[in-house]
Structure formats: structure tokens, C-alpha cells
Amino acid sequence: MRGALGKQYRDGETIIRQGDVGDCMYVVQSGRVEVVQSSEYGEQHLAFLESGNFFGEMSVFEKEVRSATVKSAGEARVLKVDKKMLLRRLREDPLLAVNLLQTMSHRIRDLDAELSQHRETHL
């Protein structure tokens, strides 16, 4: 693609792996990626993310390993955002965090809804 930014991933190619140490977050530029989590019960699908969505942001704010694996679902183009750059900019411009916080807040809301539904199903 003439003007694409980021890096191209093939269908099924792993972008980040659960358990790895991360030093950046990612923003989907085109295509779709799948978030999966492995546990003792096997691999579970968590979400599909599309153009404009980001992932891997938890590694920017905490020193924990990646909580899930993200792989390309079809061909996808993904841009890497460096942790060091982001934290330095956040110091100069705290409002840069608003967009990230809005998305993270939205995800907590979705998780709350899922948890509530899960509890209702099992009561």
C-alpha cells in the first residue's frame, strides 16, 4: 500500500505474545487483529480489534508481562508507539492520556457488563 504506516502482519502472525515483557503499545492502522488469552483451560478468544483501536497499553503503565497474545486476523497493519516517548510526552501534556483513559474506561465498563452477565448465568 502506497501510504501505509506501521508494519504489515500476515494472517495469524503474532504481534505480541502473552508473558513477554513489553515496552510499547500498538495502534491498528488497517485490517483486524485478534486478542486471545491462554490458560489451563486452553486458548480463549477475548476480542477483535479494528482500525483505530489500540492494545498493549497496560505495559506502558505497569511493569507486568503481556496479559494476552495478539495476532493478525487476516492481513493487518499495526503501528508501534514507544513507551519512553509516550511517558515523556505525558509529562509535558497530561491531556494526552485522556484518549487512552477513555478507551480503558470503556473496556472496564464492558468487563463489568460481562461479569454481571456471567454472575447472572451462574446464579
Binding site: R2, G3, L79, D82
Partner: protein
């Protein structure tokens, strides 16, 4: 309505500072005018409306931009090399602004540094395309058949989506009525506003009106650059230049630096030098190093200009109910002008929404963002002066080249020189950070070693070859 004299416009802006008004808070129904719809104006409008919406503040934003960025050539152009830095691409992505492929003419994955002693390709540290080569307008003159979207048009669209209104009118005068600015346009209409953001850029006539008056808005120092668009086919440009920006460190008198940027079927040549004239442009284009990289004889120049480039900072880019954003106020030295427009526009918008629109509010909350850029430029001037010294010494050029080549060959090598050259040419890091990098013992010892090798002519020739 008559055009005001130059002095009266500036007088209008400076006289309001003596106003006794104390309430400078933007309230529901506040009207804001933005003069200039380029990146600075669109970023300002976008963030102003976004932040106002976050605190349920209802405001109106009018962007005055007589040009349409859907036009080819000078009519829709903002006279710029058209590079969005690695830093800004990432920041925009974190802000939720992702540049579409129709806007980005080429994702850049490396810079090739050309010197008479050889050349070296420096790959992006992230090993991906994080620098965007694009057009500010709808491409060069005679490029109407090429499908592309304008960067400035795209940003303006974002501001419009947030609720801004674009008025294709030229502002010709400003008056102050009851302590508020009243803009008059070329049609003879006038509108009163609570805040005016001047984002019209160092090349605009409106900024020149301010510059002509010594009180308050002391203009920044400027120089002229040279931009030329060469046309070929997309395949040919890709074959010759790849997805790299080619930069030149040549020992030509008065020459500072130049870059050739691939953009679809075009290649943009950007050049900076002292008293830049046709003679210097010709000397550059005919230099054997340039001809080897990009033979301009076979590719016609379809559009060229010599825009002003801001080299300093306006002494006070704000007043009561007025703020200057973008390169009309302050910008980064030679690099990342769009990034500086983003930073100043967002800082000004944040100040206006959360603090107020008085001179004191801007001095306390907006000026620090401008001062940080201006202070960093001071270090940048030193870096470019040092670069000039190196550029005119064959031994120093050979040492720089050898050091960068070795770093690129060995993945395990610390990229001291590569990082410096990458950041100098891409504008990916503050000049202060680059300067600190040059004080690193690894940088100093490696440079000394390579200088020593370069001083021994026969051996250095073999190594460089």
C-alpha cells in the same frame, strides 16, 4: 470596507492589553475565530472543541481559510516539505488520530545520508514505517490526475467533525469593540469574537501585518528555503528512492542541508542554506553526489517555491483574547514544523478552555510550551553549527560515515552516530537529547577512533570503500 494599514492591525492587538476587563473565561456561547486553516489552526480548533465538549462548554469556532486544500499547486498548498515526524505520528495515534493511506504518500522506513565520501542507510530504530511523507495541499501543480488527499484538508475535516465552521474568507482587518476583537473580511462583513487564534503561518499576509509593527509582536528571524517537486512515474520514483528520505551533507558554500522525499509519482526536493538563490540550487542539483542519487535532468520540475522558514521565536505570541499558534509564533529549528504546530496549538487550546484567554493566562500556561521549543532550538543552533564544521572537513565526514556504517552493519553495536543522524534529520528527538547523546563516552570514544582512522588516508579510503 477599506483595508486597514499594517500598523492599525497590530495596534488593534496590542491596545487590548491595556483593557480593564477582568473576566477572560470562555463561557457557554463563546465565539472563537481561527485565522488560518492549516495544521496549527485545525489542531487548535479540534482540541478546543474536544476539551470544551469534555467539560460541557458550548462554544462556536470559525476557521477563516480562503484556500481550498483540494486544489493542486500553490492555490491549495502550504509550502512545506511535507514530513510528519516519527514522534508526531505516534502522538497522533495515541490521540486517536490515525493518518489514512490516502493522505500518506509514502511511509518512510529509512534515511539515506549522502556525502562525497560515500553514503549510509540508517534504518528506523523501530524497523517499521513511522514517518509520513505527504502533501499539505492536493499535490503539485500539474498533478491533478494523481489521486491523493491533502493532509491539511484531512485535519480540517477532523475540526469540522468536532463542530468547527470553515469560512472561505480572507481576513483583512481587526478592530476592538467593547474589549473584544472584531474581524473584518474581504467581503466587507465583520464578526465579533471572544478569542482570536492566529494560525496563518509565517508566510501569510496577516502575519506580515503584525510583523510590521514593533509593539508587542516582535517577529521571529526567518530565512528562505527552496522546495521543488519533480515528477516521474510511481514505479520509477520507488526504484530510484525506495521508501527512504535521502539527505545530503555536502561541502557546497552556503549550503546547509537538503533532502529528497519520495511521494507517489513525485519527489520533493527541500533545501536550506544561507542566502539561498538559484545559483545555490543549481550547484546542489548539479553536484555529482546528487546526480548519482536522483538525476533531475530526466524528471521535470513541475512546481517550486521559496517559502520563509521561521528560525526563532516571536517574543510574545499572545495578548488579551489573542494567541498565535504554529510557525507564526514559534516552531522547531529546520525540523518537525508540523509537530511544533501540534504542540503550540494544543497548549493554546488547553489554556483557553481550562484557564482563560487573558494575556496573563497565556503567559502562565501557554508560553512555557513555546519557551521549551525556543530553548531547545538554541541547542539545535549549536548542533547545526557543529554539523557545519564537520560537513566542511573531509576527514570528519569520513569518520562520521564510517562510524554510522559500522553501527548499521552490526546489530549488536550501540547506534551512537546513527541515532544522532536519525534524530537530526527526522526531528524525532529534542535537540537537547541529541546533544546529551554526543557527550556519551561511547559516542566520544568511537568518534575519536574513527577520526584517527580517517586521518590515515590510505587505510580510511579502503575502509570507506
Amino acid at each position: 470596507m477599506q483595508l486597514s494599514s499594517h500598523a492599525s492591525v497590530a495596534d488593534s492587538f496590542s491596545s487590548i492589553d491595556e483593557s480593564k476587563e477582568t473576566d477572560f473565561t470562555l463561557r457557554d456561547g463563546a465565539r472563537i475565530a481561527v485565522i488560518g486553516g492549516g495544521p496549527a489552526g485545525s489542531f487548535f480548533s479540534y482540541f478546543l472543541l474536544k476539551m470544551a465538549d469534555a467539560i460541557d462548554l458550548e462554544i462556536e469556532v470559525d476557521i477563516y481559510e480562503p484556500r481550498s486544500f483540494s486544489q493542486c499547486g500553490p492555490a491549495g498548498c502550504n509550502h512545506c516539505g511535507g514530513i510528519v515526524s516519527e514522534l508526531l505520528v505516534q502522538i497522533l495515534a495515541a490521540e486517536g488520530i490515525n493518518l489514512p493511506p490516502s493522505v500518506v504518500q509514502r511511509g518512510v522506513e529509512s534515511y539515506v545520508v549522502h556525502m562525497d565520501v560515500g553514503d549510509v542507510e540508517i534504518e528506523s530504530p523501530a524497523h517499521e514505517q513511522r514517518i509520513a511523507a505527504l502533501y499539505r495541499g492536493n499535490g503539485p501543480r500539474e498533478g491533478g490526475d494523481v489521486l491523493l488527499d491533502s493532509f491539511d484538508g484531512y485535519l480540517q475535516g477532523l475540526a469540522v467533525d468536532r463542530g468547527a465552521r470553515v469560512l472561505r474568507k480572507l481576513i483583512t482587518d481587526v478592530e476592538w469593540l467593547d474589549g473584544r476583537p472584531c474581524l473584518q473580511n474581504a467581503d466587507g462583513d465583520s464578526s465579533q469574537y471572544d478569542l482570536v487564534s492566529v494560525a496563518s503561518g509565517v508566510n501569510s499576509n496577516f502575519i506580515k501585518m503584525l510583523d510590521d509593527h514593533p509593539a508587542g509582536f516582535v517577529p521571529p528571524r526567518t530565512t528562505r528555503g527552496y522546495i521543488c517537486e519533480f515528477r516521474s512515474t510511481e514505479e520509477e520514483i520507488r526504484r530510484i528512492l525506495g521508501s527512504s528520505v535521502h539527505v545530503f551533507l555536502l561541502s557546497i558554500p552556503r549550503f546547509e542541508f537538503a533532502a529528497i522525499i519520495p511521494k507517489g509519482p513525485f519527489a520533493t526536493v527541500v533545501m536550506v542554506g544561507d542566502n539561498l538563490d538559484q545559483e545555490l540550487v543549481h550547484a546542489f542539483l548539479q553536484d555529482p553526489v546528487v546526480r548519482k542519487c536522483f538525476p533531475t535532468d530526466a524528471t521535470p520540475c513541475v512546481c517550486s517555491c521559496s517559502p520563509l522558514i521561521n528560525l526563532g521565536a516571536r517574543k510574545r505570541p499572545y495578548g488579551d483574547r489573542v494567541v498565535l499558534v504554529g510557525d507564526g509564533g514559534v516552531t522547531r529549528l529546520y525540523k518537525d514544523g508540523i509537530g511544533a504546530a501540534f504542540r503550540t496549538a494544543k497548549a493554546a487550546a488547553t489554556t483557553a478552555v481550562f484557564q482563560g484567554v487573558s494575556r496573563k493566562d497565556f503567559a502562565k500556561h501557554y508560553w512555557p510550551a513555546c519557551r521549551a521549543i525556543a530553548n531547545d532550538n538554541s541547542v539545535g543552533k549549536f548542533m547545526f553549527a557543529t554539523n557545519s564544521v564537520f560537513k566542511h572537513s573531509r576527514i570528519a565526514r569520513s569518520a562520521m560515515l564510517r562510524m554510522a556504517q559500522r553501527e548499521q552493519e552490526k546489530e549488536s553495536a550501540k547506534p551512537h552516530m546513527s541515532s544522532l543522524l536519525w534524530n537530526m534529520f527526522t526531528g524525532s528527538a529534542p535537540y537537547l537529547e541529541m546533544f546529551r547523546g554526543t557527550l556519551h563516552p561511547g559516542f566520544v570514544s568511537n568518534l575519536l577512533l574513527n577520526l584517527a582512522v580517517a586521518i590515515r588516508p590510505e587505510r580510511s579510503k579502503r575502509k570507506v570503500a
